[in-house]
Symmetry: C2
Subunit: 226 residues, 2 copies
Amino acid sequence: MRISELARRSGVPVATIKFYLREGILPTGAARGATQADYDDDHLNRLRLIRSLAELAALPIAQIKTVLGLIDHPDADLFTTLGKAISALPPYVESGGGEHPRARAAIEHLGWTYDETFPATWQLERALAAVEEAGIPLTDERLDAYGAALHPMAEYDVAGAPGGAIDADASATGHPVIDRSAAERSAAARSAAVRYAVLGTALYEPVVVALRRLAHQDIAARRLGA
Amino acid sequence: MRISELARRSGVPVATIKFYLREGILPTGAARGATQADYDDDHLNRLRLIRSLAELAALPIAQIKTVLGLIDHPDADLFTTLGKAISALPPYVESGGGEHPRARAAIEHLGWTYDETFPATWQLERALAAVEEAGIPLTDERLDAYGAALHPMAEYDVAGAPGGAIDADASATGHPVIDRSAAERSAAARSAAVRYAVLGTALYEPVVVALRRLAHQDIAARRLGA
């Protein structure tokens, strides 16, 4: 198809498509005469992914390049690749120098994996400092309630990862299996897992936040007789 | 205390305090000579609340005025007051004309209260349109998993509202009690409930989002053997 049809089918204006071509994140179409190029469904799919990252997830162009680079050439170590990809998502929080006492205490209280190099750890530290400063610090009781709700939600998300890239728990003990075959997974499965993790994280957070507000409203409506 | 001490103790610069005085959201101190004013702990507490709304929750000045107005003069109908207060929080989503088919289907599927005038409904509609467009639409199964996790979290939040402003379920049937005494609650209790709902919603959302990412990381670390 010509660039005009690519624009029509993707919903992305021609000028924006040309920008993506210049930035090297959308491959050039097959040459068709001196001034025209031919695009196919691979271009269309790529463009839809770029559009999701740019318009729906609101990523800056540098971060889109990072994510696409990880999708195109995922590292054999899927855990590290996923970490790099999620790090490309907002909010862009500075580490602050390495000490994250509030986040560390909360994560260790929950018995989750603590990793001070992970941006979500810095994000949690900043969020906990804010609630503390506002006079509504996170109590262990509230942390337990949140952890008990969010971990199963996250299990559901991870279980839905495509192509079995992240294997489901298959142990009889109920504890997750440590799977050492990560290095042997196919690059295609790893690419799909990165795509799912990035879009699922960026685009489902607004769903979660809206549903939480609606749950508050539902409870208030029932209790206050609205 | 003088304005300089108020600045030191609140962490808000004198110039910013003067801006809040001019905007009428911080009451003037008691006159103390021609050019000085005296501030007390009420001013300090008010300033800390304004700072939480302005710096931590990142509300624009117009929305801070709305929230403070609702805290100062809460309507007798607490449910309506809470709705107005939460509507002052970002994201500022347009209603889009009244039809919210995706949000309506999701909320009705969960059996929650549907209210098309509530901004979180518009927010959910927009978020669901985005995941649909990105090719990862919300399935009923995922909705069930999220609803089952988020409703108890929201119950915990509402149960923690100060001063019993929002009464806990006291029925023997396990169904929430419709409480008709809302109009008789004290204004002070309603003010405290509005403050709690606004700060709790705005400042705990980043906590929830960070914890969700950390739960994903914890699960991936265990499964991928990091």
